[in-house]
């Protein structure tokens, strides 16, 4: 997965903003002080002491500038280092995934070693060194732990690449989890995670999400000043994305003014702020302006009409504008824009991967496992069952009762199918399943995939088991095998070999 953009762009944005700040600071102070310095000799009437004073002031100002710039640049260098680290991390992840594909196709031991030598580069050695540092720290513990660590080290000498690979994968998963935590606002868990794992602080943009939280907190308090400031600061970049967020904020401001009943103020506000947005958002402007014609939530009608409040007589779409719904929309829009500005994807990367995993692993038997019959009666029963089922154990029992190879099995494999897990199955209902182009048969007894060396043997009743398992059973039972699904017995000689193309 191309993480480059989402990893490095936030750093880049930070750097460019800092550059702007520094540059403007530099410009201002330099022009101001040099102006004064150039003008000094012209003030012939001014006394000597005052000239000296002014010069000393300029000295102070310039030395302060020097200090500020130094401080800025120290932090800048840290950010650049962070960028480099992230790039290294990204490259080593890519290399690992490429190597994984090669290893799958090729025989294991010998050719692995060859490729280890070919692909070791500086970036990997840097990361390995840092990991070795970690391992050395662990060694300072009790003796028994030392023993274990030493043994593990011996293992790593045999397969150094694998060990690094496993750690990298874990780190990547943890990175995604921390990003998810910060995005959703679970800050305590996020900070706990960063404390547990070494590089996470460098890899996750905690500050970015915390900044974003300030704005969203103010939105939840129905305060528009902070979001408007934010829009001002980021105006040029929001334009590049072609965002309408600023307009939506102003629309909400208009609604708030209307809520208080002050129509003239509202009209003035609209005259000032809406014209630049007419090109893009004219329909929305029209609808919002329509609010002027209707009663506001707190207004009383001069002529009492029935027993209803005048506000309740409004068409629904206008009523909605005054409600909580528009604030929620604003919040969501902010979350999106905020994240896109910094080059991150709209939904957290763990969700994207998780869902593409669902698409990759979902099969028709996973789909059917929670819906054994399609009749109406059974559907009602299912709905009742769904209401009753709360505990995990009960859910698993329901799974087992379905007549499908996917969920109940004796070989351990099929209970491990992640899509058949009750929670995942609910999510997976909305996503397509993977296309299957080749047959794949799994033995219900051993959980292994049947190959031409271990072909399926078909019993006279139609059930299929792998040759190896049937052989074992026959050896233990004097040539008699039992069909586990129906408990019928057959002789081994009655089984027919099937050839799957």
């Amino acid at each position: 997965m191309n993480l480059q953009k989402s990893l490095i762009q936030p750093c880049f944005e930070q750097l460019s903003r800092r550059l702007h700040k520094q540059y403007s600071l530099l410009n201002k102070t330099l022009t101001a002080s040099f102006k004064i310095l150039y003008s000094l000799p012209k003030n012939q009437n001014v006394g000597c002491e005052k000239i000296v004073e002014q010069m000393k002031k300029e000295i102070e100002r310039l030395s302060k500038l020097q200090k500020d710039l130094n401080n800025y640049s120290k932090d800048d260098q840290l950010i650049i280092k962070k960028m480099q680290l992230r790039l290294q991390y990204h490259l080593s992840l890519l290399k690992d995934s490429q190597q994984e594909k090669k290893i799958e196709k090729v025989d294991e031991k010998e050719k692995e070693k060859e490729k280890e030598k070919e692909t070791e580069t500086e970036t990997e050695t840097i990361i390995k060194e840092e990991r070795k540092m970690e391992i050395e720290k662990e060694k300072k513990d009790e003796k028994e732990k030392e023993m274990i660590v030493e043994e593990k080290k011996e293992k790593t000498k045999k397969n150094p690449l694998f060990q690094d690979q496993i750690k990298l994968r874990k780190l990547e998963l943890n990175r995604k989890l921390t990003e998810y935590m910060f995005r959703k606002g679970y800050n305590k868990t996020g900070t706990m995670l960063t404390e547990r794992h070494h590089f996470l602080k460098q890899l996750v943009d905690q500050s970015l999400f915390l900044q974003g939280k300030k704005v969203s907190v103010s939105l939840s308090k129905h305060d528009l000043s902070i979001p408007l400031k934010w829009c001002l600061i980021n105006r040029s970049k929001l334009k590049k994305i072609d965002s309408r967020f600023e307009f939506q904020l102003k629309k909400q401001q208009f609604i708030e003014i209307m809520r208080k009943g002050n129509r003239t103020k509202a009209i003035n506000y609209a005259r000032k702020n809406f014209p630049p947005w007419v090109g893009k958002c004219f329909p929305e402007i029209k609808r919002v302006m329509g609010l002027l014609a209707f009663a506001t939530p707190n207004e009383q009608s001069p002529i009492p009409i029935e027993e209803k409040e005048p506000f309740e007589m409004l068409p629904k779409r206008y009523q909605l504008l005054y409600g909580e719904h528009s604030w929620k929309k604003l919040n969501e829009a902010f979350q999106r824009e905020h994240v896109i500005l910094f080059g991150l994807s709209e939904s957290p990367s763990i969700e994207v991967e998780f869902k593409s995993g669902i698409c990759a692993l979902k099969t028709a038997s996973c789909q059917n496992s929670h819906k054994p019959n399609q009749n109406k009666k059974t559907k009602e029963k299912e709905e009742q069952k769904d209401l009753e089922i709360n505990s995990f154990d009960q859910k698993m029992k329901v799974l087992k009762s379905s007549d499908n190879n996917g969920t109940n099995s004796i070989g351990q494999r099929n209970t491990n199918c992640p899509i058949c897990h009750p929670i995942v199955n609910k999510i997976a209902e909305n996503y397509p399943r993977n296309l299957i182009t080749h047959s794949l048969i799994i033995c219900p007894l051993s959980g292994q995939i049947m190959t031409p060396d271990n072909p399926p043997m078909i019993c006279p009743n139609g059930n299929a088991y792998s040759l190896d398992e049937m052989k074992k059973m026959a050896e233990q039972n004097n040539g008699i095998v039992t069909d586990i699904k129906t408990n019928e017995i057959f002789k081994f000689t009655q089984l027919k070999r099937a050839f799957i193309v």
């Binding site: 520094q22 310095l37 000296v52 505990s391 399943r433 299929a464």
Partner: protein, 452 residues
């Protein structure tokens, strides 16, 4: 990209140095000017002359302009980086955007995952922050599992042994109860001739074999009779049968797991060269495994004779600590099998599978609109260890087989779907030639529908 960032670093340093030096020079000249002026404070004309000269020299040096220029290099490289980043494609996949109902579910999944890892502090904090619910009892299961695992890592097998004994007791009680029930049923029901013959054959073999095999045969008798009478019960029956065989599998596996525990502990004692203790331990514990694990016991007993170093060379896999690592992973599998939960975190598996899937989905979603609930238009390649379900694709029609269109076994052993078999039958004929070999199959006699 790497090169760009390196360049960025170097230009940043350069600009910093330059601005620093330039500012330093200006400050120096300012300070010296101040000295001169304060020295010449009495003579005004001289003072202004000096000031003028100093000002002209400042003008010539143009330090402020050089400072501003030096910033430009850094600015240039930074904007290059920015352009490169903008040109990279985004990670958005349109049909995968999040929906409201999913958020709670995903939170629940993540909570499960965190409990599985064993980091209970973190997991509890997450549950607090997100307000997600975890299934009852799951937390306690995981706590127990991790307690035992921690002990195993410290080479202490006591709690693992306790757990093993507990589960074996529970399962064996259940199987004993079922045996009694079956025996009663058999006594009540009548038998056919063929069944009697079968029974006799089987009984002869029974006497020579163990308890477990007797169970299987009793089940067969009972079920054959009951199937004749009660056809409607179908699923419920299968369930109890499957549960029964599942129980047996579990008993087998825990039994061999117990042996591995004892083996690892025994090897540990050997490592410390305490041979007498090792002998005592083996005498105490290895008896019950004599029937099932004789080969391994022989090997272990043989290790007593060798001295430590020689044993390490002769059986390196026993003494290098890999036994404990294997125990660790096997315990997780068995514990999850007994508790009837998946042994790997579904979140982790899905993310692993998803990594390679994302790039494929991105390409395709740009070209073809993907409808949810259907099949994808192309195949996402998936490694074999992610395959959990059987699926059969007819080699003739390339269709996936379903309950309505099952695969059919021909006389020659080839398998095609029922619908393609029907197309091969012409005009009411019953025989046809297999598409792969010259063997002729009779569709009414020789074909068997297969249930994968």
């Amino acid at each position: 990209m790497e090169i760009l960032i390196e360049e960025l670093k170097t230009t940043h340093q350069k600009t910093l140095q330059e601005t620093d030096t330039q500012l330093r020079f200006t400050l120096e000249s300012l300070e010296s000017a101040v000295e001169f002026v304060s020295a010449m404070s009495e003579d005004e004309e001289m003072m202004f002359q000096i000031l003028n000269e100093w000002k002209d020299s400042l003008h010539e040096e143009k330090r402020d302009i050089t400072i501003k220029k030096s910033q430009k290099d850094y600015h240039r490289v930074l904007s290059k980086v920015g352009k490169h980043l903008v040109s990279l494609p985004s990670n958005e996949i349109p049909f995968l955007t999040s929906k409201k109902l999913e958020r709670e579910l995903i939170d629940q999944l993540i909570a499960e995952h965190l409990y599985r890892i064993g980091d209970f502090e973190l997991a509890d904090q997450f549950v607090q922050d997100s307000g997600s619910k975890i299934p009852e009892g799951f937390r306690d299961l995981m706590v127990q599992m991790h307690q035992i695992l921690n002990q195993l890592d410290q080479r202490d097998i006591s709690s693992a042994l306790n757990w093993v004994h507990q589960t074996l007791q529970l399962r064996e009680k259940d199987s004993v109860k079922e045996k009694e029930v079956k025996k009663k049923l058999i006594q009540e029901t009548s038998k056919n001739e063929t069944e009697i013959k079968m029974e006799k054959e089987i009984e002869i073999k029974k006497e020579e074999q163990k308890e477990k095999e007797i169970e299987i045969e009793i089940e067969i008798e009972k079920d054959e009779e009951q199937d004749e009478k009660e056809k409607g019960k179908g699923k419920g029956k299968e369930n109890s049968q499957k549960n029964n065989t599942q129980q047996k599998q579990i008993i087998k596996r825990t039994h061999s797991f117990e042996f591995k525990l004892h083996k690892a502990f025994y090897l540990n004692i050997l490592l410390k060269n305490e041979i007498k203790e090792a002998i005592k331990y083996s005498q105490k514990w290895f008896k019950k495994f004599a029937l099932t694990h004789m080969k391994e016991i022989k090997q272990l007993a043989g290790c007593l004779v060798y001295s430590n170093d020689f044993a390490k060379r002769r059986f390196p896999e026993l003494f290098d600590g890999s036994v404990w690592l294997q125990l660790h992973s096997e315990f997780i599998e068995i514990y999850c099998l007994v508790a009837e939960i998946p042994s790997h975190s579904p979140l982790e598996l899905l993310c692993q599978a998803g990594e390679s899937a994302v790039s494929v989905l991105k390409k395709v979603s740009g070209l073809i609109p993907i409808k949810t609930g259907d099949e994808l238009p192309m195949e996402i390649p998936v490694a074999n260890n992610f395959k959990f379900h059987s699926s059969f694709i007819c080699p003739v029609s390339k269709e996936r087989s379903t309950q309505k269109n099952p695969p059919v076994l021909l006389k020659c052993g080839h398998v095609i779907s029922k619908s393609s078999m029907k197309t091969l039958l012409e005009n009411g004929k019953t025989k046809f030639k297999c598409p792969y070999c010259p063997v002729i199959t009779n569709s009414q006699i020789d074909c068997i529908e297969i249930k994968f």
